[in-house]
């Protein structure tokens, strides 16, 4: 037999035991970051998804000049004169049509206004719930009155003003930032914890001196560190592509982002504290995220919901984060000006973290 040098030296002499190298929290957080960075799908969901969302919504809802409003004038003796008057007025396009056709076009939304003059009166037919229709009616009324000889008494000057900060994209960006903080915190922490539990990795960590709070805090902090670059990316992209400006201080924005990321990570931990299967945790996460997607004012103002629902919407954890981010980014509010929202977000985070710490199961 040939000699086996590898096993000839065995058993190995005992290795040197040293103190030091003890950095549980730092090493744990670092390992989380390394893991994130090596997960291409996660990178896409975290960094790509919000960007795609901003890009597509920003383009779809870009500011457009008002389209010309369509007025149908019902054929009759004065129709030609009225159509000429209306066509001369700003923002109106008038066409003469038989009554039945005009009515059909109004019903299907292809005309904004139908004008019919009889001996007794000028009749305006519109759908009063459509803003364009109301605008068309008032413009048409105005133009016809002037043509009939009305004199204006005031001197009026129109000054067009640009309103960066008032466009839909400006409204949307802070909302999307809050939304990705929520998704990242809940999925990134909640899902990850349950997966670790299923792999028995939680049990393995529990068998080391790594403390409960170090593990939970490390999960939260890892997520937080991970989302800050994402947020910077969003703000920069929104600035370059759509000229979205931040009116408040950058430091205040960062403070809110850190707070929001931490709070949602805390909520994610509480949800994952006991869940044993990925199905259970995904179900719970979707269930609590849906009302916030719809009701926290990310895509449209939550004032569109009836009054009795408002206290419920205000109590959702995403709502104060959206409000505070908008306040700082759009209105230039200070952190002190968002004290109420900050208290609410912090309360959600602290309470959920405390619950997680209490009810958390390693297996």
């Amino acid at each position: 037999m040939t000699s086996q040098p590898a096993s000839a030296a065995r058993p190995l002499p005992p290795p040197a035991v040293t103190a030091g190298g003890h950095a549980p929290l730092r090493a744990f957080i670092a390992s989380r970051l390394v893991e994130f960075c090596r997960e291409p799908e996660a990178l896409f969901w975290v960094y790509g998804f919000p960007l795609v969302m901003i890009l597509s919504l920003g383009i779809a809802f870009r500011q457009q000049p008002l389209a010309s409003l369509r007025v149908d004038v019902v054929a009759g003796p004065a129709a030609a004169a009225d159509a000429a008057t209306l066509n001369a007025a700003p923002g109106l396009t008038a066409t003469i049509r038989p009554q039945a056709e005009a009515a059909e076009r109004l019903r299907t939304g292809r005309a904004d206004l139908v004008v019919e003059r009889s001996a007794a009166a000028v009749e305006f037919r519109t759908d009063p719930t459509r803003p364009e229709a109301v605008l068309a009616r008032d413009r048409a009324h105005d133009a016809l009155e002037r043509a009939a000889g009305r004199r204006d008494l005031l001197t009026v000057r129109d000054t067009p003003v640009e309103s960066p900060g008032g466009r839909y994209i400006d409204f949307l960006v802070p909302g999307l930032m809050a939304l990705s903080l929520m998704g990242g915190g809940l999925w990134g922490v909640g899902f990850a914890v349950v997966e670790m539990r299923i792999r028995k990795l939680l049990k393995r960590f529990f068998a080391t001196p790594l403390a409960h709070w170090q593990f939970l805090f490390g999960m939260m902090a890892g997520r937080m560190l991970f989302v800050i670059p994402e947020m910077v990316l969003l703000v920069v992209a929104a600035r370059l592509l759509f000229g979205v400006q931040v009116f408040g201080s950058a430091a205040a924005v960062v403070a809110l982002l850190v707070l929001g990321a931490t709070a949602f990570a805390g909520i994610g931990l509480a949800i994952a504290a006991r869940a044993k299967t990925l199905e259970a945790v995904s179900g719970a996460l979707n269930l609590i995220m849906l009302p916030m997607w719809l009701g926290s004012g990310v895509f449209f103002s939550r004032e569109r919901y009836p009054d009795w629902l408002q206290p419920v919407l205000a109590a959702l954890p995403l709502t104060p984060l959206v409000d505070a981010l908008r306040g700082v980014m759009l209105e230039g509010r200070t952190l002190a000006g968002c004290a109420g929202e900050i208290t609410a977000i912090a309360a959600w985070g602290i309470i959920c973290f405390a619950i997680a710490l209490r009810i958390f199961r390693w297996q």
Binding site: S7, V17, T18, P24, E35, K200, R204, P209
Partner: protein, 262 residues
């Protein structure tokens, strides 16, 4: 008294009942002592209660009743101090796929105040050539050895290994045996479970044979052989339980044997 002179582990009347319908009584009145500096083996078929017992000793499961002292301390009162002194390799853990072997060992090393270098732990389990490989790309046996390395980084006074050699090739098994020798040469205590009779015979100072949640025989390998008048440890089990303990852990019925002397 307690403290230094206490046995490494002392267990009295341990019972573990898993709730459910029906409840499973995995451990039913198990008592044993593990001395300091010895290698102690828990041997038994699948479902005997080895993992349940060892996880209670590791402080990972709460017993239903009974007393457990580890290094003279209890898990209820001294978990923090004990965690620094005890190393654990679970029967099955899937460590993070995205980390490399060395990163994983370093991560676990950072949890302990004192210990050996992560590289030294990898050397003990023969994983130095795989140090830069991602855990996702390791073979089953390599993962198992990495799990053992994570138990070693704190250089524990008391090392628990639950089936450390199941699924390993002969050379890797020998590597694990060697590292157990190294750990024991430092005066540290090792508790391991195994299905391999030859392994228990060769590695363990004393062996407890466990079946259906109880210790059915306990002693040094020569003592057990003499007591049951057999030539192989397998036959001790056959005599006791009327079944044969195979290497995969299944207890096969033995034709014509009902547990009486052959």
């Amino acid at each position: 008294m307690t403290g230094v002179d206490a046995p490494a582990i002392s267990v009295r009347d341990l019972v573990k009942r898993y709730p459910g319908r029906p409840p499973v009584e995995a451990v039913r009145g198990l008592s044993l002592d593990v001395r300091r500096g010895e290698c102690f083996g828990l041997l038994g078929p699948n479902g005997a209660g080895k993992t349940t017992t060892i996880e209670i000793l590791e402080g990972l499961l709460a017993p239903t009743s009974g007393e457990v002292e580890v290094l003279g301390l209890t898990w209820a009162a001294h978990a923090g101090a004990l965690r620094e002194r005890v190393g654990v390799s679970l029967q099955e853990t899937r460590l993070s796929d995205k980390l490399t072997v060395l990163e994983t060992a370093r991560l676990f090393r950072s949890f302990y105040r004192r210990g050996i270098a992560a590289e030294a732990a990898l050397e003990l389990v023969g994983l130095v050539p795989k140090a830069a490989a991602r855990v996702a790309n390791l073979s089953g046996g390599e993962r198992q050895r990495l799990a053992v390395a994570t138990a070693l980084v704190g250089w524990p006074e008391l090392l628990f290994l639950d089936e450390p050699t199941t699924g390993l090739d002969p050379q890797s098994r020998r590597q694990i045996w060697d590292l157990v020798e190294t750990v024991r040469a430092c005066g540290h205590t090792v508790v391991l479970t195994t299905h391999f009779m030859d392994e228990a015979e060769r590695l363990c100072d004393r062996i407890a044979i466990v079946d259906a949640g109880r210790v059915i025989a306990l002693g040094t390998p020569p003592e057990l052989l003499a007591q049951f008048e057999v030539a192989h440890l397998d036959d001790v089990f056959v005599k006791l339980a009327g079944r044969r303990l195979t290497e995969s852990g299944w207890a096969e019925p033995v034709a014509g044997s009902t547990g009486g002397p052959a």
